[in-house]
Symmetry: C3
Amino acid sequence: MKLGVCYYPEHWPESDWADDARRMKLLGLELVRIGEFAWSRIEPSPGEYDWSWLDRAISTLHAEGLQIILCTPTATPPKWLVDQYPDILPWDAHGRPKKFGSRRHYCFSSPTYRRESARITEALALRYGDHPAVVMWQTDNEYGHHGTHESFSPDAAGAFRQWLQRRYESIDALNTAWGTVFWSQDYRSFEEVDPPNATVTEANPSHRLDYRRFSSDEICEFNREQVDILRRHSPGRQIAHNYIGDFTKLDHHAIGASLDVAAWDSYPIGLLSEGDDSEADKAHWLRYGHPDFAAFNHDVFRHCSPQWGVMEQQPGPVNWATHNAAPAPGMVRLWTWEAFAHGAAFVSYFRWRQVPFGQEQMHAALLTPDRQKAQALVEIAHVAGERETTGELESTSARIAIVLDYPSLWQHEIQPQGRAGSVLEMARTLYSCCRQLGLDVDVVPQGADFESYGLVILPSVSILDAGMCERLRDSGATVLATPLTGSRTLNGHIPENLAPGPFANLMPMQVRVFESLPPFAKPRVMAGGQMFDGSLWRESVKSTAQPLALFENSESAWLRNGRVHYLACWPDEPLLMHVLRQLCQEAKLEVRETGRDIRLRRAGNIQFAFNYGPDVIDLTFVGAPETDEDYLIGARDIEGAGVSAWRI
Amino acid sequence: MKLGVCYYPEHWPESDWADDARRMKLLGLELVRIGEFAWSRIEPSPGEYDWSWLDRAISTLHAEGLQIILCTPTATPPKWLVDQYPDILPWDAHGRPKKFGSRRHYCFSSPTYRRESARITEALALRYGDHPAVVMWQTDNEYGHHGTHESFSPDAAGAFRQWLQRRYESIDALNTAWGTVFWSQDYRSFEEVDPPNATVTEANPSHRLDYRRFSSDEICEFNREQVDILRRHSPGRQIAHNYIGDFTKLDHHAIGASLDVAAWDSYPIGLLSEGDDSEADKAHWLRYGHPDFAAFNHDVFRHCSPQWGVMEQQPGPVNWATHNAAPAPGMVRLWTWEAFAHGAAFVSYFRWRQVPFGQEQMHAALLTPDRQKAQALVEIAHVAGERETTGELESTSARIAIVLDYPSLWQHEIQPQGRAGSVLEMARTLYSCCRQLGLDVDVVPQGADFESYGLVILPSVSILDAGMCERLRDSGATVLATPLTGSRTLNGHIPENLAPGPFANLMPMQVRVFESLPPFAKPRVMAGGQMFDGSLWRESVKSTAQPLALFENSESAWLRNGRVHYLACWPDEPLLMHVLRQLCQEAKLEVRETGRDIRLRRAGNIQFAFNYGPDVIDLTFVGAPETDEDYLIGARDIEGAGVSAWRI
Amino acid sequence: MKLGVCYYPEHWPESDWADDARRMKLLGLELVRIGEFAWSRIEPSPGEYDWSWLDRAISTLHAEGLQIILCTPTATPPKWLVDQYPDILPWDAHGRPKKFGSRRHYCFSSPTYRRESARITEALALRYGDHPAVVMWQTDNEYGHHGTHESFSPDAAGAFRQWLQRRYESIDALNTAWGTVFWSQDYRSFEEVDPPNATVTEANPSHRLDYRRFSSDEICEFNREQVDILRRHSPGRQIAHNYIGDFTKLDHHAIGASLDVAAWDSYPIGLLSEGDDSEADKAHWLRYGHPDFAAFNHDVFRHCSPQWGVMEQQPGPVNWATHNAAPAPGMVRLWTWEAFAHGAAFVSYFRWRQVPFGQEQMHAALLTPDRQKAQALVEIAHVAGERETTGELESTSARIAIVLDYPSLWQHEIQPQGRAGSVLEMARTLYSCCRQLGLDVDVVPQGADFESYGLVILPSVSILDAGMCERLRDSGATVLATPLTGSRTLNGHIPENLAPGPFANLMPMQVRVFESLPPFAKPRVMAGGQMFDGSLWRESVKSTAQPLALFENSESAWLRNGRVHYLACWPDEPLLMHVLRQLCQEAKLEVRETGRDIRLRRAGNIQFAFNYGPDVIDLTFVGAPETDEDYLIGARDIEGAGVSAWRI
């Protein structure tokens, strides 16, 4: 439960550093992340390192007792490196190299860049690996951002062929796995296979799925090469990467396996602006962010590596969204407590001081460019003090698990069978409805242990692991699956027994027809005497199980087989709430309906409540104490953007 | 009036083939289309043919008495061919070659591909040209799909220059024909002329029009080369191509001249999803398709070659539309009868069995991937039986002709003079209104014989043939022309006498101003004491003819000169229905208003009615018999998605 | 106050020329612009000039006493030149050369094209520089149109490096000016710097701002090279360029410094169609154009060069807008008088005769292609006669100035901090509201003299000149600034004292937070006891000045410090009108509210009124005379599309 900040000493006069460090300390910060984009200052010319300024910056911070998260600077190779080795550049899907001039201008598959990345990482690790102030490393920055999760360079093509060779061994195996007989795409050797870009119409979906797997694996390997060097030269330090929220182009579970800390960058206001919520919701939460956005990502990243944290926390308006509102006063504190209540090891704010030049000059910070205090700083001081009241929070598992599977996400992006509706959106809708019932949720991979859960949800996990289905059945948990669950094999084919594939062992059913529908043609669903709406997806299911809801043509919309439930359409929120209420009852999960703006989260024996709206709300309706003395933080009447906490 | 199916034996274990053939026969199918995308299996390596599997597949089908439509596999050249000759690839308008990995990855102008196309066609023809099971050939598949109707490769540029040389003979003639003096575009030789792509702003419209003509001609020539080979080596067999519906980038009349059969691929539900209908209409016809879509294309393709048929009929949800709903039960039967009532020689369903891999794995079929019956199969069995009741239907000409002219369509796409509104849309709107009046329609080229028609409609045919105008005048038919008719010369210029060019011989008028209007600024029209709305297009016309309707500023909106009528705006449906009712009266065409969902079609002395909606409707309002015994098919109360037929 | 026309003799049979000239003269035209796109006819082959036809065309016009505006033909280099020197082509932002085939296919930085431009200019100047008919030259045509204001060719990259070297002298200075330490973008030499295109994500904003400056400077230099040649060989003639309206990608003040005449091309109906007005406004003004569009541009171009005029005046429907309506009868006359009332030296119509071929064949003219009179011709005859009534109008300065600064426009385009809302839109909104108060406005550069103004408005001028702020303070004028004023330094950085930078000397304030808001989340403003709406932009300001309006959270929305006012949000029109009414009172500017469609403009002691709507309006509410005898033009009841004028 540490507080930290992102700092770029190279942006500021050296004369400011000591005062900056002093003020950080005074504020209650313990961690400072540095070095992130500093390659051109660390190595101004090929092979000529300038460590002096970084030595002094680290010493200055260390002198105040601050602990350092040191970054490898590989997200921004300097111009001389790009000029020397143009083959490090990534290529877009049209086959054009992208140019130097912003960031992330490298291809993960470039052998040259792999070598240079290892070289600069090793140089840093050798220099600072044993420094007492350095407690953590961050590899690179936000892998895959700006569409760099895949590249179509010649190097990428070559690496893909090798990856395929390792995966399939024989070209016949590949031809079978991809179904290349379709449209005369048989290959005679791995040498004949290209990346699936720039085709006349859509490329083979198995081909595309493998390219997504390959691209994620390349990032994984790139990261592991840095990790190996850091472990060798900087023993005892933690290693983290800072992921982007709501970004699932790479497999966080796979990358996280070699890391100690899964950190992520949390920008709730920016993400609301970019998201698909209605205008009414966007207006309502303009200065609060969606109440489930940050929490969802917390619950994702908590299950990727041994520890997790927030590496960059939004402190004010950002510069990159379609519209950039300021958070309501109190929200920076609220977000911090939401993270801690979810078990974050640290929350680090981005950034210390607003930089008056460059692409992010309009990105707020704790200090304005002229070093005055910004709103966030006041709130952080508040949190720093409050930490003493709660003590270190206990990271607590939830009773509900939502399964998130990256290849399933990719498979559906490749063959969505209709515009609108993604697996991630389905997962987040399910997550939000659980939260509106006052329940904590874990977001876990298929390989998770389900023994401790009362309810496990499969949000359209298309590529189901048969082993997971067995463990689910044995777990005793109530299970809910949504359309497309189990609809594809490992290679993205329709299973021999049709959808839901191995899930048919839990629910005796077969999907005969899958339809995607336009938003203006909603399937109606009759459940428990009430009419509800579905959306977008609708399945015609053949089953011997008990129907709990029917479509208008009397086909089953909701099936039940003992503890196992299946929804045959995308449920609109009222229908989904109706279903979840019943499942929680079956699973003996106590429900507390929170309404639109209130959210709950338990940490050990402390119950938190958060108010993502402007109105003062009496919290007793969610079981909070009657008298204010019983509150560790806040009070019974929670203010807009407020936090309350009490022991349970 | 045969039934058929598209089959890909190479996708399935050979052990399934005999049973598949048996089930096809049992279902009542006579035709099986095969070989369409099988090049990589027919010629797995350069010059090494593997006929064995295809021999066996054909024998197996033949053994059941099934007749075969054999396809040239040229829509999918194999990877080894593309690697050997990269010059066969098409180039996009930005000057980038497209890559292997889907289909149609070839340029029609590549001399290399012309040679290879001839080679594989000849090999197939030599092998199977005399096979007793082979009754028809299909050349390639869906020419021009996925934007391949034009290519901007160096080969295309070279072929274009030769095409121009043949067309104009001297560069001065080209300069005059294109008006190159405008913007200093004079050419000194044909060698200086490039394709009209990647220019700073729009290229010369005559240049673009000629590129469209050239591109269509290249497809025509490519097709004819295959046809010549097939005729040489497979005497007595019919030759077909399967066109795309609603796709007018190539001239079906020109290509059709060398074919025996104009076949097309009918996907009414998919096309509704992709079309411009209102959300209310799309919701209403979600599972029915637009009631005039398939019929319109039937009436187009009926006039392209001696025979016509449906080569691919949608049997369930497709995989490629924005949203993919399942047809209402009954629609596959309805579409089949609609095709037969229009005179189709055959209806062939796409495809026999849903393939569980590849780009189209979510495309429904007659069997599910696990070989169970899908909905369509039941309906086909129904049709197969009903055929006996009607006997072979008589192909019957309509009394109304709508003229469809491809260069006019292209000219308007090149210079639309405002967003929204296409010539095809105008033609289809006119077609739909005629159908709603219960009338059958022919869609014919300018070269048609008009003697037998009571009403001929020119839907904004901009490049009018003067000879056609004369034949029209001599025909005795009532004539209706809409805005832009005759507005351009052969080269896409404004005629010397201004619009409507040669049509001025039928209607004494001159268009002084053409306006394109936004959808929110509709011109109002007063006709017969009623106010109507027009849309999008409005002309100021000078004429001595009688005005039958006026715009608000008293300019003429509808002109009449004897039997010839002219509309000076795009008519909204109520105005158009008003006009057509009067014209039908003049032309002595008996009108039966069908309402939104019912459509009629006469075949010889049998009258069909189709119900494109969900409600049961009493058909007597369209003159159907009172008692159910008088019906050959169906009954007086036609069900949703139902078909009724009776003798007249 | 001359009338003119654009004429392309090369498009027409020589036999028509004399009659054309006679009809022009008869109509009352004095000026004829020719030669604009005639390079391929002047120099049909490399080095072989054909002057004969142009000699005869000029003689023919001269014989009627018409004066000639002769154009350099450099907007359309002929095909042979492009083939000979492909390096003259511009490259798009993806790094692709654009092709020949339309116009403007050259890169301003190509040394080859600079040489060729000089060569053809000199050849023309030598031939016709002393011709008595030639009174004016036009350089090129519509610089920057179709996205050609910047190019990313190798020549452009080279020229950019030289430009940077001249501007910064040392690479360290550039690194500081751009803040390249951000994201590791330090350069070691000017040779390392590329144009800021095709980057992975957005490039450095200072880098981009300099590329915009460089690109504008390149046009400036290209133009000056032609001007120098023309001045040398054609003494005593005026030199003009015809700019595009509402197009601010190039700095008209900088280019205008070397010209005698800033001419522009006025297409009010086309621009309305392309603009951002509401559908209701677009429908209302469909045939009138926005009442402030032409006037705004007049007031911009009046301050660029010693004289100004309208080189191309829309005469009817154009061919290039999304929708192309015909102007209401009377509008061509109205637009002409609006230009003269603003002080135009001439109004020249585009074009004489509608050309029946080429890209612009649907662009109306004074004659239809068959040489009949079009609507505009009648109105021009009307104007030509009316000129005698008013005599030469006096060009009159306004009492209100709006400051337009090109680098500020570019800076905000590069870093808008949120979609929607541009500096140009802010300026035009302010302009329109002033006009609705019946006031004339000058649109001036920062370097203007403000002594004569009662009110000076800074519409979000982000890069403020400190000297201007001082002159403003000394001027005695009331001042109004809107959000983002002074928010950036010359290099596009946040100022050391934060926004509003040097404006803080006039208004004691500091902007603490800038927010961009979606259109559906409007900030509310309480002013003078009334509630108003703001939009899009909102600032949190710290100030000791007097608040005249507050946001809902009690922060200041409108600040006043003596004569200086500041608005902290984008004001919706009612709020802005409220503010301006008060400021006009302070500045003692007499207000006459005109309503939606009426606009006023004073020229010396003549007051004009224009009616941009369809309704007859009694003008006495704006102080017009009671009796019709007191009108020089028109009458008290001004008709739709009418003009009235009276002495004051």
